[in-house]
């Protein structure tokens, strides 16, 4: 067999497996056959991963087509729309197309404690939703609006000057065109960290509107809620790369501490876990702590802290107590 037809063969087989999997769960014998094929040659695995990614990616393109086509006719896409319209009528698909678009328009996404999820939006923007967070996707023709109801999310915004991207967190809104940033809602304030480009932060609530503040790459701003902050101006602070990386490590499933007080580290760890860590000894809470942990691995954190400061861990009443 010549090399070219061998390559072709690999791609054909890889694609067949992808479609087979798309049709339903594999039988045991099929699964074994697939595993054996994948293990036989790294090129098999590579071709399989690639074909799977391409197959999955078509869902995103289809959602794009369904979500946008009815809202905003584009002359350039005329033929496409006509074809889609004919197909929709003849095949009776109108209902399902409408379903796709409304799913995006009213999209509510949430995470459980300890869960971090990555989502792709219809325009190609991506977001990561941190632990115990809720947001709503409200895409319209002239604006891409995300309402953060609880928790924290970070965004990589696809560039689209016609449709600004706005994240609303309580009375604070963060506006971007194409950039990357994260927004975290806390009890008394909203924290915005920008990792790429520029965003505009506005607070509307209460009696005072705080004017737009431009926040640039590697900067953060903390906006107090109207009741808390009154008319205090927004303070923009610079963050170094290390600090940014630390702040956003949760996206990779990590928590990084570089010398914070143990009490603050514990607050952070407890966001991700049903099994909270409690410091029984206030002196312990003030000690400065360094370490890298998997999100949700509270036990490892408690043990590491205990080992570092020569303390003990006791599990009592559904909590991990740290004491000298």
């Amino acid at each position: 067999m010549s090399i070219v037809s061998e390559i072709d063969d690999i791609e054909e087989t890889a694609t067949r497996w992808v479609i087979r999997l798309d049709g339903g769960a594999l039988q045991d014998a099929e699964q074994r056959e697939l595993d054996a094929w994948l293990a036989a040659d790294t090129r098999h695995l590579g071709a399989f991963v690639r074909a799977q990614a391409a197959w999955i990616d078509m869902d995103r393109v289809a959602a794009l087509a369904a979500g946008r086509a009815p809202v905003k006719p584009q002359p350039a896409a005329w033929q496409w729309q006509r074809a889609a319209a004919i197909a929709a009528v003849t095949l009776g698909l109108i209902a399902s197309l409408a379903f796709v678009s409304s799913r995006y328009l009213a999209g509510r996404e949430s995470t459980q404690i300890g869960e971090v999820r990555r989502l792709t939006l219809e325009d190609g923007s991506a977001l990561s939703l941190n632990t115990a967070s809720v947001l709503q996707v409200k895409y319209a023709d002239d604006e891409r609006r995300i309402v953060l109801r609880e928790g924290e999310a970070s965004f990589q915004v696809a560039h689209d000057e016609q449709r600004p991207f706005v994240v609303q967190a309580g009375d604070v809104s963060v506006r971007a065109v194409g950039t990357a940033f994260s927004v975290r809602m806390r009890r008394h304030d909203v924290e915005v960290v920008v990792t790429e480009g520029v965003v505009e932060v506005v607070r509307n609530g209460g009696t005072s509107r705080i004017a737009a503040e431009r926040v640039k790459r590697n900067q953060e701003v903390v906006v107090a809620t109207a009741e808390q902050g009154g008319a205090k101006p927004l303070a923009v602070a610079a963050l170094d790369e290390k600090e940014i990386e630390r702040r956003l490590a949760w996206q990779d499933g990590r928590l990084v501490f570089q010398g914070e007080a143990l009490a603050n580290a514990v607050d952070e760890v407890n966001r991700y876990s049903q099994l909270p860590v409690v410091i029984d000894d206030p002196g312990l809470g003030r000690k400065s702590f360094v370490g890298v942990f998997r999100v949700g691995d509270t036990r490892a954190f408690a043990q590491a802290a205990a080992a570092a400061f020569d303390a003990q861990v006791h599990e009592e009443d559904g909590a991990l107590h740290l004491r000298d």
């Binding site: 391409a54 990589q156 000690k287 890298v292 691995d297």
Partner: protein, 220 residues
């Protein structure tokens, strides 16, 4: 400052190993499999056309160097590394592809590896694909539409029903009055054609070099 500072870097639960990227193969990836595939779709696939174009120039005329094969091998390696450890997928894609070519060339002992200095790869890889270099949604739809136009009618219909109509393969078989295995064959064909169309360089993107050129002209 009398407070203690401890440097502790524990690994995943139960492993007792340090969380060192290099020391930790993808045994316990935080992403599940389907999320990992979606990550590939989002972070790797969009760069394939550029990687192929670069590879095409590198390996043209060299025996034992087939772009398709190098791409397959590269995908397998990226998969093994695990998404959570790849911070810059575009750069990683290029560098990994270069390593694969280097290995093939060393095996075949044909050419000196200097033909592919790291510098050149890094140059390309660091022309980061910012959001503005991604295709707009409309361009993307247009590309897929063009690819779909090359499909035979039944094949295209099956593909449309699956992806745009969100019918299952079984439902498509019933609607089109075909056997499920025929539907499967149509979908295999459709995916192959669309992949080969999309792996060509993106028509809508401009290389930064060209942007610079346009900029200079405007300023003249």
């Amino acid at each position: 400052m009398t407070d203690q500072t401890a440097l502790i870097v524990p690994g995943p639960p139960g492993s007792g190993e340090p969380l060192d990227p290099a020391a930790q193969p993808c045994r316990n990836p935080p992403m599940d499999r389907s999320e990992h595939v979606r990550w590939f779709a989002r972070e790797v696939l969009p760069h394939e056309a550029d990687v192929r174009r670069w590879l095409g120039r590198r390996v043209r005329g060299l025996p034992d160097c087939h772009v398709d094969e190098i791409v397959q091998e590269t995908y397998a390696r990226l998969w093994a590394v695990g998404a959570e450890r790849i911070l810059n997928p575009r750069a990683y894609f290029f560098v990994t592809a270069r390593h694969v070519v280097g290995e093939v060339l060393r095996r075949s002992r044909v050419v000196s590896i200097e033909t592919m200095a790291d510098v050149e790869v890094l140059d390309i890889a660091h022309q980061d694909v910012g959001p503005e270099r991604r295709l707009s949604g409309r361009e993307e739809i247009e590309r897929v539409r063009q690819a779909m136009a090359k499909l035979p009618p039944k094949c295209r219909e099956a593909f449309e029903l699956r992806k745009f109509g969100e019918l299952s393969q079984r439902e498509i078989a019933q609607r089109m009055q075909l056997s499920e295995s025929t539907v499967e064959k149509h979908l295999v064909k459709a995916l192959r054609v669309i992949m080969s169309e999309l792996q060509e360089s993106d028509p809508g993107t401009k290389l930064p070099a060209r942007k610079g050129h346009e900029y200079r002209q405007r300023n003249r």
